[in-house]
Symmetry: C2
Subunit: 187 residues, 2 copies
């Protein structure tokens, strides 16, 4: 098979800096959720990335190999689960910026989904990491939704986030003690 | 590229009868959940199928084409969400059998997941469709878990399910009125 010059084969996690950055927060959250699950504190999972499968090969009877598929835009948020009997739902975002968190990476239907969660009596928030400062914040969904619909600059500044969001304490187990903030904010 | 005789390319949804059968219940549930969401009754989604991506091509700057990927075993159940402020979680299974629902297709960690949901105060159940009779049942997760760990035949008979589960009324909107049963069982 010929590799055309414009058909580069790349390993997504090692070459795409946006995705690999996102993966750090994702990995920290997954590790934290695994820990929270192991001590029976909460049951929170990341939803799989939605992928549209177009073609499947069967190299053998038992094995299905997907040979053509495409990433889809998620219809909801990345994480949900149950904590202290309550439905919990959040999106996690990482930015390299030292000044801004822009709403570019949040889809409109994700904002609507977070609003629906609140209306149905669930707990909804966003976890934002400023990777340049290695700081991770919990921001109540209501404040994100408000800013999303009212902010003309379609962003929240680092300063604003520092004043309205809650800095997550980091440690070893769990990596991100974000449920301590959820306790303070919602229980 | 040569198509080797054992490398058949098939469209999974049209040729694999197991999967296409499963897709009917899945489609009915997705339609029902879309309807429930539209009338603000509940917020319930199917989680995407977990897929391990091995290789991604970039035919153009903006487009990522997954060229090698594999289906993974789900670590949780297929559906979750929020209903009347409560966390709700379930697995949906379809069988052609006229006599039995076997536990073969339920993974051990899915049973453990349903048990965890109950322990954390959530609502957990299984939806089972006997496609030969076109009958769909809601079965409380506790009864499935009990049978899973105690039944020597690793199955529930159609008769047993008829006596312990709850037949879902079908209609147009929603296709499956399964939340009416959830109301009776858990609220």
């Amino acid at each position: 098979m010929i590799n055309y010059p414009n058909k580069k084969k790349v390993n997504i996690s090692s070459t795409n800096s946006n995705i690999s950055r996102g993966m750090n927060l994702e990995k920290d959250l997954n590790d934290s959720n695994t820990f929270y699950k192991s001590i029976n504190r909460a049951l929170i999972y990341k939803k799989p990335t939605p992928i549209q499968v177009v073609k499947v090969d069967y190299p053998s009877r038992k094995h299905a190999k997907i040979s053509e598929a495409y990433y889809q835009i998620p219809s909801t948020t990345d994480y949900n689960g149950i904590y202290k009997g309550k439905y919990i739902d959040f999106e996690a975002k990482e930015t390299k910026s030292k000044t801004l968190f822009t709403f570019q990476n949040i889809h409109d239907h994700q904002i609507k989904h977070l609003l629906s969660v609140i209306e149905h009596g669930g707990i909804a928030f966003i976890i934002i990491r400023f990777s340049s400062f290695n700081e991770t914040y919990v921001l109540d969904a209501k404040q994100v939704i408000d800013a999303y619909y009212t902010s003309e600059k379609k962003s929240l500044s680092y300063k604003e986030i520092k004043s309205i969001a809650h800095l997550v304490t980091e440690g070893f187990t769990p990596r991100l003690k974000y449920l301590d903030i959820i306790d303070r904010l919602y229980f």
